[in-house]
Symmetry: D2
Subunit: 439 residues, 4 copies
């Protein structure tokens, strides 16, 4: 199948630092959950890396190891956590404000949460307009801010005895931005840091600092960040994996289940309306049109790739697609999606599907942070650098090589991930052909 | 991948008779739609065989032929239709009563529909308790009924100049039944026909007649039919493909999109309630508990296979699953599904998904009839006999080889189907590994 | 308006015993809530008697006293609680099993809940088939059982220093029953008690004991109970108020909001499907068809009375109405209703309404218990005996005088209740005419 | 009850002209439906004036006449239709574009629809920004435009032999506007017409022209129009009834059913989110924020009045209320509302209600146009001038006398309307006390 050879994978031994820009609802829920799992108080629900099995060989061979036993992942006991935030709250206080955890859960992991105080953040008001906080770095230009982050990473590694780190973005959505001249090469980017170019967003400074420090970077927001030539050049140069962007956790997750199904059956689409109500800090940030635009762009992209209107003009050329997010404080972190899908079938007859998803934003996102931290570290140890397309499974807007379209269909993404894992270990690809059972 | 060689496929030339036991809502909608397509009045929406493309080679090769141009399928102009029903209505009258088609569509294809009158049906009240009709065969025993059907098939072929036929069951759901002694071998089955064994259901007599006549048989209802050793023995003997069972068209279609998605993300399931309201003849038949039991069994089976509770006890061992179908005449053929899904994520926090599917029963089923007719004929010409697992995509309760579990995940089913088509034509399997784009 | 004079109302001073047959989810939630209110920890949400105001005179007069300050109700501090149950659990243990209350709430009121142990119940398996318990009275016939209850009431009053009592049924739904010969007069009923007539249900023995003890009786279940000539005769004889039946708390509450609205606008109805999923003991009892029949009958009746098909045959003659309750354990006490309503408007065009009510059974019912206890006591002190039609507001199947139809429209019920309260205090009726503002 | 005497009502004989500013979806659906009713092809579904009965006296008297037989309304055969629009399409062409009517219905009433061509409209782009059309009056100032409308009315009456006219606004929503100085008196308003004051909106010019011509005016949009001192002064001066504003047809209709129900039960409200998707011209106009603001204001107002947060701060002080309308072309005139209601009950436990209303905008609005036309004419003949509060039933933002709050509760509105009709005919008010049945 592939011409590439099975890779050599370095040992997972030692401590793995998980560095989180943004210590809000998602990060604190992630840390609290890992701690609960380490105490044996909950299984790692929602984490494919921890709970999922992978089928090897034929269905009759009954070989289905856990993924975490099949590939050499860092164990949860090896993880240590750190991060940055514009508020001074430690993780316990931040969790209290986020209101995601039950009092019982929150108190159980209080010592660990209280021990994690945020490092001063790199922040620029114009990129996230609805919030502001006091815990912010000062510097004469953006280069100095980057260097301060690099120093933070080095200090963190030393203080915690880490062998390796990964960085997973858990901060806010920044305003919409297209790659500009300053993002076109590493050289221009570094000149831009010096000149405090306004087109360099805070998230890009974090990613730059990570990659300069030998730390893989995964992007959980729809921000541009590593989706630029400059930072991809740096990743290649330092042989580091990067991945993104925007956790696929709630409504888009559902959409990338349903859309491939409708497509599989060649059912036409006349319209898809996706409404959301959401009451947490994320909802507040996205109430600002410039920030919502970034999220909207990310949420809109999946359908076109899945439906391939150019191949199927009679079915998908003219569908109307609208995504809305409404700030609705009564729900707090409990997000609710309402989708209305107008389809048409045989002879053009119309039908409708409505999906009402009463979900929890951070509960869905937290295990993705865990998986990304562990798989990015694995990729790094396996010598896989640049864009990790096999982690598309986790993202609303998966990054892909320039010449190809990204894969949005969650089932193709899963297949891609599992066959990548099989390939890493020299196992045969699964194709589901299965004629052998009928010979 | 497979040790089997690329098969030789006979030409698709000549007329293909499509024989339909049951000329009700589904059959008449199917026939009307094919006629509309032949007249160029509608694209074949919902039909994978007609509209879908298949990717060949790498994403960068841009080879995506239509399936119907990739494998040698019979063309729609080659199809002729016939069938049996317990009512004497011709297809136009039956369509009028079914109320699926708009007056405009119905009148457009009136000449063809009026030309198709039902042959006398084999029927036994105890298998379908809520309906009865006058257009029924008499015979001294079930063997005579089978012979009458065999004669019908021969007469139909002769009268219509057919080169080949396929039979696709579009009749009612029979009462729940497990394979008994009479189904354990072809010999016992034939003795049972002679003795009019009460365990031989009408659908089995149709399937027997088809297979004796060299006609592939696909089973669109959850009835036992060809899911028995006796009839599988006959299929093997006569080298004929069989497939089943129960069209996966509405709610179960949606469930087999959602369940693999939840499973992919390792989200736990505490309960799944599936309600339906339905006002057509199908709803009326299923209002009888003995018939509903057959449908219920078929609808319940998918989740267990997808969720694999034995591998994932913490997530899927104890979920509560209930399926209800409520006869609700105001809707006619417009079926409505309402699913409530109780899931739990990270740290055990509960979430809910509700899906409300306002669908149309026959509109969803009709293109499946078309695809099954064409693919069964293709399999037959390719020398593929016995259970066609690659057509699992179309069924709620896919039949599979004895030693393996059936695949219910619609995306695995699609992969299986497409890789089977690739195999038929000697193309490389798709695994979605895709490392080559990053070298 | 009325020829009747403003009544004399006796003082509400002294202790009021609230006697509850059935100490399960509803009763324990009711008691816990009253205790929380008495401690000032929650307002009495859901209780019209405690929170609602009543407008008096013109809109410009601004007279809107609280109902509990307008009419002389017993105060919450005057209430003492007692009851019967077939299980031996005290109210704390019962609340724990019911799973309605949060741990925090439950522990706050633990002392009071633990102090209330159930008296031995009168129970007969055939009336409630899915449950059974050990805490049951024995007696040689039903008369002895009645006398034991009368003794219980006397003992309870003495032990708790009660001035007055009211009884509010909070037990299970019994199997469906129509009034028979034994219910046709008090004399026959008493003979039936002696003979242990199988047609005398346990709830009827409770009601008999209450009325014999001078205690008003309100019926929170759809059981026949006081909806019989025999017990109405006893109520009249002893000048006691009675009311019923079946708390209107969840789905039927919603239906009696929506139906009057559709009717007000003369929108036609072709079908109304009401599904429920419910996981508590109530759901378990109603999984038995004979018990469900009683509930179904109660739930079905409202629409016909509201829509008046005989006056509006073009709109309401032929609508299809179906009510289902599905036992679904994952939800526990959290009930969920899903209604689909098919309506038609101008020129007959169809439209649909779906209502998904994620409610909590006992949370909705508990404040109704409180209001009924207080208003029944008020009625008793005001000398209002027999059926209290003005309390129809609280019931799915309101009892009414023989010659008239019951009122199901919740807004007419509310008007009736408020004008009754105004009448009790000699205030002018409100008619909403309001021409005076425009003179 | 009222000190006012039963009014003298003039005869309804002669032709009644119904003048409609705006000949789009609502108007053409209204006219088509009236014509279908006149031909006996459909009952007048949705029209209270035509179909509803009114109870008189006691429930046992069985006096329930049809409203149209109880009060002297104009008959449908007496109606003639005219109107203005910015497009030149006659009503048949406009109905074709609106896409509300089935081809069958549309063709049945084609002659009447084709005979009604729009008079040239008064239009000002800045008030309705998303649409524009060629069929527009020119004039040197707004006074001339008003005079042209007055001339249109006179010409229409003469040409059609009308004895009386009513004007019912069926045009677009104008941008949000508060009453300014030019609206503060009739004198200033007339000076403003002369000066073409930019604060005088087109709808106000229509209303002015109507009232100058002796024609009652009802306002079906949320526009300011007659909700100003200037035009109310003119109505009083000419003794003409006025009413408004904004047809209560879809989502707000549902909200004013549900909100009074929640309030009646003293259930608390933490949030209410109302989303809409809508694909017709109305949706297009409201896609402009300035126009949406007018509609939003109208849609938001009902809840506060119904819930009375100042009386019930513990239940209703802090609820979050958001209304959104999303332009979604795939649905055309078929509007869909999705409401999420977060409530809390006993002890503060939260519950949720979701309402999904698949409605049809014009089908719901059309019968309101009919009722308003007939009742405004009735009021006029009964000498009832100024604001007709008894017609609040039909409006989202009912106009009311200055010193009182408007009534939004649809059941109080219905009571008010029916008791007003009873009063007009000297019948006793209904209070629902009903003690007489129990004496």
């Amino acid at each position: 199948m592939s011409v590439r050879e099975t890779p050599q994978i370095d040992s997972a031994a030692g401590k793995l630092g998980v560095l989180l820009p943004g210590l809000g609802a998602v990060s604190t829920t992630f840390i609290a959950g890992v701690e609960m799992i380490r105490k044996g108080l909950t299984p790692p629900i929602g984490s494919l890396s921890q709970m999922s099995r992978i089928r090897l060989g034929k269905r009759t061979e009954n070989r289905n190891p856990l993924i975490r036993e099949f590939v050499p992942l860092a164990g949860l006991d090896q993880l240590v956590f750190g991060g940055w935030d514009i508020y001074e709250d430690n993780c316990y206080e931040a969790a209290l404000k986020a209101g995601v955890l039950s009092p019982e859960h929150r108190e159980t992991v209080r010592p660990l949460l209280e021990s994690i105080a945020p490092m001063k953040a790199v922040f620029e008001q114009r990129y996230v307009q609805r919030i502001n906080g006091p815990n912010v770095k000062q510097g004469k230009n953006k280069r100095e801010l980057a260097e301060a982050l690099i120093q933070d990473i080095a200090d963190f590694k030393a203080a915690n005895g880490c062998d390796r780190c990964v960085m997973v973005w858990c901060g806010s959505t920044e305003i919409f931005q297209k790659a500009g001249d300053v993002h076109s090469s590493l050289e221009k980017f570094e000149a831009g840091l010096e000149a405090s170019d306004p087109d360099i967003a805070p998230s890009q400074i974090y990613a730059y600092a990570a990659l300069k420090s030998g730390v893989p970077f995964a992007n959980g927001a729809p921000n541009l960040t590593v989706d630029t030539p400059a930072l991809q050049e740096l990743a290649k140069l330092n042989k580091l994996p990067i991945a993104g962007k925007d956790y696929k956790s709630g409504q888009t997750f559902m959409k990338t289940l349903l859309a491939p199904g409708l497509k599989a059956r060649m059912l036409g689409l006349s319209g898809w309306f996706s409404g959301n109500i959401l009451g947490n800090r994320d909802g507040e940030v996205l109430d600002e049109p410039a920030n919502f635009k970034t999220k909207e762009d990310s949420k809109l992209s999946a359908l076109d790739v899945i439906f391939q209107p150019k191949f199927y003009p009679e079915l998908y050329k003219d569908y109307f697609h609208k995504v809305r997010i409404e700030y609705y404080p009564p729900r707090g972190d409990n997000k609710e999606g309402w989708d209305n899908i107008d389809i048409f079938g045989w002879m053009g007859y119309p039908m409708q599907i409505k999906v009402n998803f009463l979900c929890r934003d951070s509960i869905l996102a937290a295990p993705l942070v865990l998986d990304l931290a562990l798989f990015m570290d694995l990729a790094n140890r396996a010598g896989m650098s640049g864009i990790q397309e096999w982690l598309s499974f986790y993202f609303k807007s998966p990054m892909a090589a320039k010449e190809i379209y990204p894969e949005h269909d969650i089932f193709i993404q899963l297949m891609k991930m599992k066959n990548t894992l099989r390939w890493m270990k020299g196992e045969e690809m699964i194709t589901h052909l299965g004629l052998e059972y009928y010979d």
